[in-house]
Symmetry: C2
Subunit: 236 residues, 2 copies
């Protein structure tokens, strides 16, 4: 049963240069490269010193709980930790977890069936993965480079994030995308503004999925928000 | 320099039966029992199966990121994990982390010095620890028992949470407590209402510290909120 048949999916970019990746419906996850996920069979976390593992896990949890001030790169000492987290099983387990929780919530919703029940998705690190790019750039330990990242995006090689796509596909009816973000504004302000526009059009934002807290907080917030794991970068 | 000299601390209980623990200023952390923290020198996480450790860490991160629907007990298979987390170094490292981040933010604030800059603190698992109680009750694997918990609270044996107290003591001027919560209302609704009252009195809520998302979200939210770790129980 297409339980989310009448839910509208709205996609908001964290940044303004992801036009190519907008064609999310045309992505075939099986054709897309996910070699980094597969190659790493076991995490090396066990071999790290307890101190580093505890410290870096604490830092990662602080990221996920929105406890940190804006940051530009991951802590130097956590470079191996983040790499191992992203390439080992933990990252995928975390993505599966949030997808499952989103699904449980989505199934519990009483949809009105008027096409105005909406779920907002971020794109990068939510529906598609830029992990191949970040694997070439120190998993967040290098400063973000606009030019290089835009070049990567235009290659159109970013794979889909399967656990998110599962939820996305179950409810799919129509997609309303936006990529009008200007870099003058914080992502949180931009996304709040877009959510406001959406609600003013009459949509009820029941759910929101994003890998950045700036995707989720501010004004016109969704009834429930889901924070996907991302220890590689921060967008204020 | 008493950098938070003019900040007012407001305490809100998660539940309504903590009268004894309100006298936070009279707590001497050095006299208080913290045997459980000290006795456990090393975490047993390394000895757990990878699967369980990854699964339970994922669950714990989902708790901290507010991704879960209301839950009554911790997952059965995570009982040892939660115990080890609470008694090992990780929990304290996480508390220190959030205390440090709160302090960095607090120091960055431009206070008006009119006595109306405020920081809201939750009490249980934020300023004081009920860990000795939960250690006798399966670390969250047993259903919450009102009667037994009230009895424990009235003993007045709950130790202070030192990292939180550090921030609390730096800004201390006056404490305005409330324990009027009625159990008919969700904690999130109760706390939102109290924050609304506080802001209507003219206070500017610059910070909010709590171990439950229901301490932090809803209406009249603080400029920044800090989520302290708590994998043992959930208050909606």
């Amino acid at each position: 049963m297409d339980f989310l048949g009448s839910i509208v999916f709205l996609c908001l970019f964290s940044m303004g240069f992801c036009q190519e990746s907008m064609n999310i419906n045309h992505l075939d996850p099986d054709l897309l490269p996910r070699p980094l996920i597969i190659e790493f069979s076991e995490s090396r976390l066990k071999n790290m010193s307890d101190d580093i593992a505890i410290h870096c896990t604490s830092w990662r949890v602080a990221v996920e709980a929105n406890n940190l001030s804006p940051w530009k790169t991951i802590p130097k000492e956590c470079a191996d930790y983040v790499k191992d987290y992203m390439l080992g099983r933990s990252y995928n387990v975390d993505l599966e977890k949030v997808s499952k929780e989103s699904g449980i919530y989505a199934k519990s919703l009483q949809l009105k069936g008027d096409g105005m029940d909406a779920w907002v998705f971020d794109i990068d690190e939510t529906l598609i993965s830029n992990l191949p790019y970040y694997s070439d750039h120190g998993y967040g330990s290098e400063f973000f480079n606009n030019v290089q990242f835009d070049k990567w995006i235009l290659e159109g090689a970013a794979p889909a994030i399967k656990p998110s796509l599962k939820l996305y596909e179950e409810g799919e009816t129509k997609t309303k995308g936006t990529n009008e973000n200007d870099r003058e504004k914080s992502a949180a302000a931009f996304k709040s503004e877009k959510r406001k526009e959406i609600t003013e059009e009459g949509f009820r934002i029941l759910g929101n999925s994003g890998d950045q807290w700036s995707d989720l907080v501010g004004t016109s917030m969704a009834t429930r928000s889901f924070k996907l794991s991302n220890p590689m970068y921060h967008i204020p």
